[in-house]
C-alpha cells in the first residue's frame, strides 16, 4: 500500500493523484465535484511519451471553461462517481502519437483530458462524446460491442480502430442509415459515443431509421442500468 500523496506545490499533488505533470487548479469548487485543472506548462505522458498537450492562453481557457462547465454540469456528482470521472484537464493541441484528438479519457485515473481548441463547430457535442468513453470504459459489460454490432447490416464491418479509418467526419447525417455521422462507422465504441453525444446535445437527425432507433434504445437502456436518475 504505497501511498500516493503530496509534494511541493499543487502541481506536485496533482501529479501524485493523476500522474500528469505541469498542471494547476483552474476550479475545484463545483457542484458536481469535478475538478478542473489546466496545463500551466506543456506536458507529455503515455507510453513512449506519445501524448502531448500544450498550455492554453488565459483568454481561451476562460472562454472554453464556461462552455465545458455548462455541459459537464449535466452530470450529477453521484453519476460522475459511478463512472469514475473526477478530473478535467484543459489544454490545447492535444495529440496522441502525433494525431490530433479532442479528448483522452482515463477512467482508471478518473481523468478526462480535453483539447479546448478542438473543432469549434462540434466542440460542445464532443465533450459528451468523450464522457461516453469514460462511461463505456467503466461499464464495458453493459455496452456490449457484439450486441451493438448486430444492429448493423450484416455486410457492414467497423474498422480495426478509430484511427485506422478515414471516416472521421463529425457532421450529423440528415438521413441516418444506421449511423449518425461518418465517424460513427469507425468502431462500435465510437458509434456508441456518437449516438450518446447526439442524445446529450439534442442534435439527433430529423429522420431516424430503425437501426439507429435500436441503437438509441440500447444507449438509453444501458444508462438506466448505471443510474436510474440519469436524464438524457
Amino acid at each position: 500500500m504505497c501511498l500516493l500523496l503530496i509534494s511541493a506545490a499543487q502541481a506536485d499533488t496533482i501529479y501524485q493523484l493523476i500522474k500528469i505533470p505541469n498542471l494547476e487548479i483552474y476550479n475545484i469548487k463545483t457542484e458536481n465535484k469535478l475538478r478542473y485543472l489546466y496545463a500551466k506548462q506543456p506536458f507529455t505522458i503515455g507510453i513512449d511519451n506519445n501524448i502531448n498537450c500544450y498550455t492554453p492562453s488565459k483568454q481561451d481557457l476562460d472562454k472554453k471553461y464556461t462552455i465545458i462547465e455548462k455541459n459537464l454540469n449535466r452530470y450529477s456528482k453521484s453519476f460522475l462517481k459511478k463512472i469514475n470521472l473526477k478530473y478535467i484537464v484543459l489544454c490545447e493541441d492535444l495529440s496522441i502519437s502525433g494525431i490530433g484528438t479532442a479528448g483522452i479519457p482515463d477512467n482508471i485515473m478518473k481523468t478526462l483530458i480535453l483539447d479546448i481548441k478542438f473543432n469549434e463547430k462540434y466542440f460542445e457535442r464532443v465533450i459528451h462524446h468523450e464522457v461516453f468513453h469514460i462511461i463505456n470504459d467503466t461499464f464495458k459489460e453493459i455496452f456490449d460491442e457484439n450486441t451493438w454490432s448486430n444492429f448493423n447490416p450484416k455486410e457492414f464491418n467497423y474498422a480495426e480502430c478509430s484511427t485506422c479509418t478515414k471516416k472521421i467526419g463529425l457532421e450529423t447525417y440528415s438521413n441516418s442509415n444506421g449511423f449518425i455521422t461518418e465517424y460513427s462507422q469507425s468502431t462500435a465504441s465510437e458509434d456508441m459515443a456518437e449516438v450518446f453525444s447526439h442524445l446529450m446535445y439534442g442534435s439527433l437527425p430529423n429522420k431516424i431509421d430503425p437501426i439507429l432507433e435500436k441503437k438509441i434504445k440500447f444507449i438509453k437502456n444501458a444508462l438506466s442500468k448505471i443510474d436510474n436518475d440519469f436524464i438524457l
Partner: protein, 215 residues
C-alpha cells in the same frame, strides 16, 4: 626571582571575549542539537475538550500531538483507527514517509515497527484486520493538520496507515478518508525526520505511543 607580570587591559578584554565566544559556541551547539527546543509540548490533562471521547494523543519525540477524531464523518475509518490505538498497535511504528512541510505518514504495522523495519517493503504492510471501504462522500476541508487514512491506488484499500498534512490540500477531498484533525501540537510534526532527496525515510522517527484520552 620571578617578576610578576600584570595583564594589560586589552589583554583582559581579549581573554574575556574568547571566554564569552567559547561559551556562546558551546551553548549554541547544545541548543541547535535539540530540535525540540522551541516546540511546545501540550499536556492533554490540562486542556478542556468538548468531546473527550474523540481525542487521541500521538506522542512523538518532541511531544504530544492532540488529534480530534471525526466518527460522524468517517465512522468505519475512525473505528479502525481507534481499534488499533486500543491495542497499542501504533506504538514504535515509523513515520516512514515524510515530505517536509507537506505531510507525515505512519502506520505500517507489518514492516514499520522499531527493530523490525523492512526498508524494501515499508509502506506496503498490513494490519491483519483487512481493508476497509473508503469514506469519501462527505464534504471535508483538507486543511493543515487534517488526518486521513492512506490507501493504495484503488479506493476501499484503507487499512492502518494514516497521514497528517502540514499544508492545505483541497484536492484530497473525495480522495482520502478523513478521520480527524490535529487541534494542538502540529508543530511537533514539523520536527519529524525527513530526507531532502526521498519521501521515504531511512532511519526514521517513530511514534512513541498513540492513545485515546478516554479509554
Amino acid at each position: 626571582m620571578i617578576k610578576k607580570i600584570k595583564a594589560s587591559t586589552s589583554e583582559k578584554v581579549i581573554f574575556i571575549f574568547i571566554l564569552v565566544l567559547g561559551l556562546f559556541t558551546f551553548t549554541s551547539f547544545l541548543l541547535l542539537k535539540d530540535k525540540c527546543l522551541f516546540v511546545k509540548n501540550y499536556d492533554p490533562q490540562k486542556i478542556n475538550f468538548e468531546n473527550p471521547k474523540n481525542i487521541a494523543i500521538l506522542n512523538v519525540g518532541c511531544g504530544n500531538v492532540i488529534i480530534e477524531l471525526y466518527p460522524e464523518i468517517s465512522p468505519n475509518g475512525v473505528e479502525r483507527f481507534t481499534t488499533l490505538i486500543k491495542s497499542k498497535a501504533y506504538d514504535d511504528v515509523a513515520f516512514h514517509r515524510v515530505i517536509k512541510d507537506k505531510l507525515v505518514q505512519a502506520g505500517d504495522l507489518e514492516f514499520g515497527k522499531k527493530g523490525n523495519i523492512d526498508y524494501g517493503k515499508i509502506g506496503t504492510g498490513k494490519s491483519g484486520l483487512g481493508q476497509i471501504e473508503s469514506e469519501v462522500d462527505r464534504e471535508f476541508n483538507y486543511v493543515r493538520g487534517s488526518v486521513g487514512l492512506a490507501r493504495a491506488k484503488k479506493y476501499d484499500t484503507e487499512d492502518s496507515q494514516f497521514f497528517i498534512i502540514l499544508q492545505d490540500e483541497p484536492l484530497y477531498e473525495g480522495e482520502y478518508t478523513p478521520i480527524g484533525k490535529v487541534i494542538y501540537g502540529i508543530e511537533v510534526l514539523e520536527k519529524i525526520k525527513y530526507l531532502d532527496k526521498s519521501e521515504y525515510v531511512l532511519r526514521p522517527d517513530f511514534i512513541n505511543s498513540l492513545r485515546l484520552l478516554v479509554n
